[in-house]
Symmetry: C2
């Protein structure tokens, strides 16, 4: 089940990058050969790189290692290796060694230094990491005869469709892939996204650009309010390594990067576990964007709001009650609320023309928007979320069985 | 459905209080006479009183009025009037007038001043409050021929059983009633609790006692992480008004009050919407109690943890990942985890004797405990919660229909 999964045109290859995948049965040996579960993004030249990572205190070793690698060698990154099927998180004293071994195997397979290789893992937490099988998968992947679609397939866990998108920015290309379906409340949530471009941008330009784009995309979605231990977004730029002249004005590139991130983030919500509706929550009239986003995320994580979405119940009381829980100061007498074009509340009063049936008609759609105006200022933010359904319970009560 | 609802002995009457109920069909006129939905607690003498209220920004008018009344007349309170079926919250410019009218009707019916009357409402948010019917219900209630059980019945909404408890403290009595089933993440959550005692205690003693008891009871439970607009706990003490000599040492009384609050709070979890398991979460080894409680509440609100409970899946990885989201600094290599008496993790490592089947056997119980030791200090806290089941979705996707 997914809400209107997009029909995606093939992703564009990015100069300077080759892709490989392996199928080694990370989750269970008998799955070897059935579907790809190891992805290798091989940068043929030194890349400048940026990353944004989970805020969960229980970070997986691959996250900590990746962050350190970016700090030390963020201008000469040569690749990303990733696996699905096992997150190598909460695996105790073996965790870091396994993560290092995975990185070393990938670096060795393509002839670069371990310090130039980033890694990511996603899947079940707390189970021993099958490093032998992963190394075998990396061996397969090193042939690099695959494409971005295959890499997007390889990082899927409970995702029902593979997620990618591409943009052209003048002569340059941006291609991104992502995975994520549950434990999605990025800040970051078990989501991975890898974005590559041949734009000639340096690390110090890339990092703030990525941070800004993530705030308004991956950090503006929520499926279930749980933040994972392994969330990672990486952005690699090969342009300088390819000898292209440094990019001057970056505004158009930033805009395209933001679009790539937002599109991938929205795909994650559409494919959210059990999600049957795609809901856009606009919070306007806030004092600043951060407060607007916080109110939006609080609405997006309320189980009562999300079950009302599931039940096509235009229960606006739950929406404003959830907003009241965000810990943000606002005056209930100044708030206004609408769903799509139906005005429900205006400055704290039920709109005289509002009929429950009109709200119900909107909530019955598989995509609709909620706009809450706080009546305080000019700032706004948009958050994307889904509903909370029986399928979410079924999927997550039975995930390991 | 409720998890092992307690067989409750009848509540003890409290000297100085009379109880009345009315059945006026607050939710729908045709329900009049079918079940009580208005409760009146009539204090025959001036009571000292304390209250703890929702932290939701969107407070109902009855909450704001009650808080002001306590501040001004907390030493001469004469009653509490409450209704179920309509929360009179988010009802716009009429809200305060309706709340005041309800208070005035109750005060008039028993011959006291409006400034001595507290009120509470629970039920659907955002629908016009049927003040005429409520006034009629108050008229019935004013005869005060009922008991605490009847009042506990009258404040039920989706509760499957009425909640009360009593304690004796020396010559004194404490009796409390409560309601709450959904939108339960007290701080406070749609829960109401009214506690009466004839102990001779003054307002300035009662307020800190109630605050402390609520922290470790109503503020230590979670059903769905949603905090309501109307949550209220009131404590009324008639002893001084009855002419009893002021109580000196209050330690025994405080202990009993804490037990009353904890017992009522646990009943709310047992009766949580869709809850099929009652789970006690102990967080130990914290630097302070507040951090311990915050970690416990974060675990208790994680949908992935709660669905694992529902699925009898001893998915300890989700528990430690949820703990990592509490925003509290701890070292993953020092944490230990067990369920009931089965040790899962010890200082960050999977215990060598741990078998998944042992954990599964515990998680299959309808009541069990989780103990997470953070390995940092001596402080601890206990939080009670339930699982997240299909029934929760069914109840809340269809609440208004």
């Amino acid at each position: 089940m997914a809400v209107n999964p997009p029909r995606l045109p093939p992703p564009l290859p990015v100069p300077g990058f080759r892709i490989g995948v392996g199928s080694c049965g990370v989750k269970a040996p008998e799955l070897a050969g059935t579907r790809p579960d190891v992805a290798l993004i091989h940068a043929l030249v030194d890349c400048h790189a940026a990353g944004v990572f989970t805020q969960n205190r229980l970070r997986a070793a691959c996250v900590s290692l990746g962050e350190a690698t970016l700090q030390q060698n963020g201008d000469c990154i040569r690749g990303i290796v990733a696996n699905s099927g096992n997150a190598n998180a909460a695996t105790g004293s073996n965790e870091e060694g396994w993560a290092r071994a995975m990185i070393a195997a990938a670096a060795g397979a393509i002839g670069v230094r371990s310090e130039q290789m980033l890694s990511a893992s996603t899947g079940v937490i707390g189970e021993p990491f099958p490093i032998d099988r992963v190394e075998q998968g990396i061996g397969e992947a090193a042939a690099c005869k695959a494409g971005w679609q295959d890499a997007a397939e390889a990082i899927r866990t409970t995702d029902t469709f593979a997620k990618w998108t591409s943009r052209r920015v003048g002569p340059y290309t941006i291609t991104g892939i992502a995975k994520g379906s549950g434990m999605i409340h990025p800040n970051m949530a078990t989501m991975l996204a890898f974005i590559a471009t041949d734009a000639p941008l340096a690390q110090k330009q890339l990092q703030p650009m990525l941070r800004a784009a993530v705030e308004r995309s991956f950090n503006a979605i929520s499926v279930d309010g749980d933040t994972s231990t392994n969330d990672t977004v990486y952005l690699l730029a090969s342009g300088l390594g390819l000898g292209l002249p440094p990019m001057g004005k970056t505004r158009t590139f930033e805009h395209a990067l933001h679009e790539v991130c937002r599109e991938l983030a929205q795909m994650i919500v559409r494919d959210g576990e059990g999600v049957s509706k795609f809901v856009t929550i606009h919070v306007t009239g806030a004092r600043n964007e951060s407060e607007a986003r916080h109110v939006g995320r609080t609405i997006a994580t309320s189980p009562l709001v999300k079950t009302a979405f599931a039940g096509s119940d235009a229960n606006w009381g739950r929406i404003v009650a959830a907003a009241g829980n965000a810990g943000i100061d606002f005056d209930p007498r100044r708030i206004s609320l609408r769903c799509d074009d139906v005005v429900m509340l205006e400055r704290g009063e039920l709109h005289p023309d509002y009929r429950d049936a009109d709200g119900m008609a909107v909530f019955a759609r598989d995509e609709f928007s909620i706009t809450l105006d706080l009546g305080m200022g000019q700032a706004q933010s948009t958050v994307w979320t889904g509903d909370l359904t029986h399928d979410y319970i079924t999927i997550n009560a039975e995930y390991r069985t």
